[in-house]
Structures are given as structure tokens and as C-alpha cells.
């Protein structure tokens, strides 16, 4: 019966491309369907019949060849698989450790084409604004106890700063926490902002995320991703030497 199985393959294989996969079923019901062939096929198992049957008919022939479990092939593919797994894992770790903005939940991104310097007040379509025309003088980075003028703060966003704003009723301990963070992180501003629809809002040029709590991990994620980040329209520009008061 081994012989039968073997000789059947060449007929079915080239003739019907689909036949190879379906060998057990087709074989049983097809032209070569002697009753005794079917059990053998089935006995060889669902997995074995497809691979070993199709690829290597020879091992079935006798004890001598059957002994040759294809360790070489197994090892070969195992090694390839491992190398691929290591490479993929490595690439994954690389992207993970990078300044990755993609995973920040609730991140809003927006095109901000306006970059004119204007001395008049500007109507922004986001609260707080996350880009647009702005005052010629940028707001210096640092911690402020009162609200800032949008037009100056937006200029700092253009220079790569992150502006952290909070609702004036934010609990004191959270304000302290944010102040410490901004004090220790270059290119960040902190100020209260009346009328926010969330307790804390972080803004960079064209980027914004709203959080409920100063301890939210997205605060750090946002800072890592956007302080002098790839969204910066004017990389290298300063966050000192501008307007120093609110």
C-alpha cells in the first residue's frame, strides 16, 4: 500500500494543483480508492498526511528510509524561525523604546498651517490652542501661576515646547506635582487655563491629549514624544529669551 500511495502522488500532484492538499479525501473517493488505502491514509494522521505525504513520499517506503526523520530540515526551519523571531523581537523592541506617540490613548492630532506672526489677538479653534498664527514674542518656558496669553504660548509650541494647562480648580497637590515636572523638564510650560473641559490638557504643535490626573502615565508619554519632538515646526529655536511674565 505504500507503493500505491507513492505512485498516486505524481498523478494527482501536477494534474490538479488543489489535489495535493486534499490527497486523503480525494484519494479515498477518487480513482485510486481501494478500500485498504483509505485507512492507511487516515491512520497517518491529519497533520502527517499533508506534509510528509506530499513532500516526501519516500520515507514511507521501508524501514530503512523511514528511520530518517528529517532532522536536517527540522533544524533548518527551526533556525530560520528563530532568526526571524529574534529579528522581529529586536525590531519590536527598537520601536517600543523610541519616542513613540502612536500608543498615547486619546491623542488628538491636527494640521496647523498658520504660522504667521501677528500682534492682534487670534481666534483659535481649539481650547487651549495647539498651533496657528501667533505673537512675534514667544512665552518663556517655566511654571506660571496665572493664565498665559494664547498668542505667546502658541509661539513656544512652534519652538518645540509642550504647554501643560490645568483647570483652576485642580487640587493643589496635583498642581505641585505638575510644577515639579515642568521645573525639571526643559521646553515645558505650565499655567492655569479657565474653561477647560478636562482637569489637565497637554498641548504641543498640532498635538493634544486630555487627562484627569497629574499621575496619568500619558503625561510622561506625551512629554517624551513631543518635547522638541518631530512635530516641531522650528527645531532648535529657544524657549528662553522671550516673554517672561504671564
Amino acid at each position: 500500500m505504500s507503493t500505491n500511495a507513492r505512485s498516486r502522488m505524481p498523478e494527482n500532484g501536477p494534474g490538479k494543483p488543489g489535489a495535493r492538499k486534499n490527497t486523503p479525501g480525494k484519494g479515498a473517493s477518487g480513482k485510486n480508492s481501494p478500500g485498504k488505502n483509505t485507512p492507511a491514509k487516515n491512520a497517518s494522521g491529519k497533520n502527517a498526511s499533508g506534509k510528509a505525504g506530499a513532500r516526501k513520499p519516500a520515507p514511507r517506503k521501508n524501514a530503512l528510509t523511514e528511520r530518517q526523520t528529517p532532522w536536517g530540515t527540522i533544524t533548518f526551519f527551526a533556525v530560520i524561525g528563530l532568526v526571524a523571531a529574534v529579528a522581529i523581537g529586536f525590531a519590536f523592541m527598537q520601536t517600543r523604546s523610541s519616542a513613540d506617540a502612536g500608543k498615547i490613548a486619546g491623542l488628538v492630532s491636527k494640521d496647523e498651517p498658520g504660522r504667521e506672526h501677528v500682534t492682534t489677538s487670534v481666534k483659535y479653534d481649539a481650547t487651549p490652542p495647539m498651533g496657528g498664527n501667533h505673537d512675534p514674542v514667544w512665552q518663556n518656558c517655566g511654571v506660571y501661576g496665572s493664565a498665559l496669553r494664547n498668542e505667546n504660548a502658541v509661539h513656544s509650541l512652534e519652538h518645540g515646547a509642550v504647554w501643560i494647562t490645568y483647570r483652576p480648580d485642580l487640587p493643589k497637590d496635583q498642581v505641585v506635582k505638575l510644577s515639579a515636572k515642568v521645573g525639571a523638564t526643559a521646553y515645558t510650560l505650565l499655567s492655569p487655563y479657565p474653561g477647560l473641559d478636562a482637569p489637565i490638557v497637554l498641548s504641543a504643535w498640532g498635538k493634544q491629549v486630555k487627562v484627569q490626573d497629574a499621575g496619568d502615565k500619558r503625561v510622561d508619554e506625551f512629554l517624551r514624544a513631543f518635547v522638541r519632538g518631530p512635530q516641531t515646526p522650528e527645531p532648535g529655536a529657544p524657549c528662553t529669551g522671550g516673554k517672561a511674565t504671564a
Binding site: 497517518s44 533556525v79 528563530l82 515636572k181 521646553y187 515645558t188 512629554l223 518635547v227
Partner: protein, 228 residues
């Protein structure tokens, strides 16, 4: 039947084949580990490593030197002090650009919200840390994690208010302290990295700022102020 035969016959052969397979797998893992370590070390520094920490913190440190230099140029007409300030502005601003380009190239954040100086104060757990402690760590990492030699906001405000000779001497004293802190940071990274690009810039910082400290000491004396 055939299948049963295959399964039955397999075990006797297995030990030899399996040993080869296991050896190969071990070899592959070892090669991968070595490659990974090598890449981490020289190719692409880690976000928490000394190279990235140095690039981030030294950028902030340099930015303050640039700021103070601009201030003193507004506060005095003294040619020597204005020229020194001009030199510091251009050199350190250009170096900020280099370090920023490293971080861009490494695809790493420009800031560490966990705080500055962690790469230096805590020694880090990256490769090549062993020799670092002696080099510069002793040179004062302030307890609050602030960078060594940085002027306080009050000192900066004082410089902005002063003018003429007092502005010059205050600037020189602040900048000497600032440079000493900068030298300590640059020495610290030299003891912690094998990255040639980082080592080269750090070395030039150590040498350049040491020479400027000597110059500023002389300038203080010339202005009738004791060296610091």
C-alpha cells in the same frame, strides 16, 4: 501503519538529531544575543543609557550658558568679555545642535520626564558602567538631581540687573562654576560610553571648557576680583 512505524522508529535516531538541533539553537541564540548587545552598545544607544542622558542633560546645561552669555553681552561693552560670550554662544549652541541630531538619529526622546542626571547619579545599568564612577561622579551631583554648575533663577536675575564691571565679574564667576559642572558631566560620560561620536565631543568639551576656565580665572584677576 506507516505512520505508526515512523513514530516507533523515530526515538532511536532522536538523540543525535536533537543534540545537533539544540546546539544549533543555542548557537543562534548566542549570536543573536551578541548582535543585540553590540547594537545596543555602539549602534543605537538606549533611551535610558548614558549617551542619551548626556545628550539631553548637556543640551539643557549648554542652553543656560548661551542664555547667560547673551545677557552679559547686553550688560557690558567690555570687548574681552563680549568676545568670550560670543564664543560660548556659538560653540555651545552648535554643540546643542549636534547632540539634538544624535537623539534624532537614535530616534530617542529629547527629554526624560523622570528627571535629569539619572544616567550620572545612579550610575545606570548600561554596558561599560564599571569604570565611570571614578571619573566624574565624585564631582558633585546635587542631591536634588539638578545638573552641576547651573545658575539659580536668582543668580540669573542678578546678572540681568547688573551692568558694567559687576556684570562682568558676576558672569565670570557664574560661568566658571558652570564650566566646572560641564567638565564633570563630560568626564562622567567618557567613563560610561564606548560610542566614538559621544566620546569625541565630550573630550572636546573637557579640554575646551578647562581652557576657558583658566582664561576666565585670569580675566577675574585682571578685573580686581579674586579667582574662584
Amino acid at each position: 501503519m506507516t505512520a505508526a512505524g515512523t513514530e516507533a522508529e523515530a526515538p532511536p535516531v532522536a538523540p543525535r538529531g536533537r543534540r545537533t538541533a539544540v546546539l544549533l539553537v543555542v548557537a543562534v541564540v548566542a549570536v543573536a544575543a551578541v548582535l543585540y548587545g553590540w547594537t545596543q552598545r555602539s549602534g543605537r544607544p538606549a533611551a535610558e543609557g548614558p549617551e542619551a542622558g548626556f545628550a539631553r542633560d548637556m543640551s539643557v546645561h549648554h542652553a543656560q550658558a548661551v542664555q547667560m552669555s547673551f545677557t552679559v553681552r547686553d550688560r557690558t561693552q567690555d570687548k574681552a568679555v563680549r568676545l568670550l560670550a560670543y564664543d560660548i554662544i556659538n560653540t555651545q549652541q552648535a554643540q546643542i545642535g549636534m547632540m539634538t541630531a544624535w537623539l534624532d538619529g537614535w530616534d530617542l526622546p529629547k527629554t526624560d520626564p523622570a528627571g535629569p542626571m539619572r544616567w550620572m547619579g545612579h550610575g545606570g545599568h548600561g554596558a561599560g558602567t564599571g569604570t565611570g564612577a571614578g571619573a566624574g561622579a565624585g564631582a558633585s551631583v546635587p542631591a536634588d538631581g539638578a545638573m552641576p554648575g547651573m545658575a539659580t533663577p536668582a543668580q540669573l536675575a542678578g546678572l540681568e540687573k547688573a551692568s558694567g564691571r559687576p556684570a562682568e565679574t558676576l558672569f565670570l564667576r557664574l560661568m566658571i562654576a558652570h564650566h566646572r559642572g560641564g567638565v564633570a558631566m563630560a568626564e562622567a560620560v567618557l567613563g560610561r560610553t564606548g560610542n566614538a561620536q559621544v566620546k569625541r565631543l565630550a573630550r572636546t568639551m573637557v579640554e575646551g571648557q578647562r581652557a576657558e576656565i583658566d582664561l576666565m580665572e585670569r580675566m577675574l584677576t585682571e578685573r580686581g576680583s579674586p579667582a574662584v
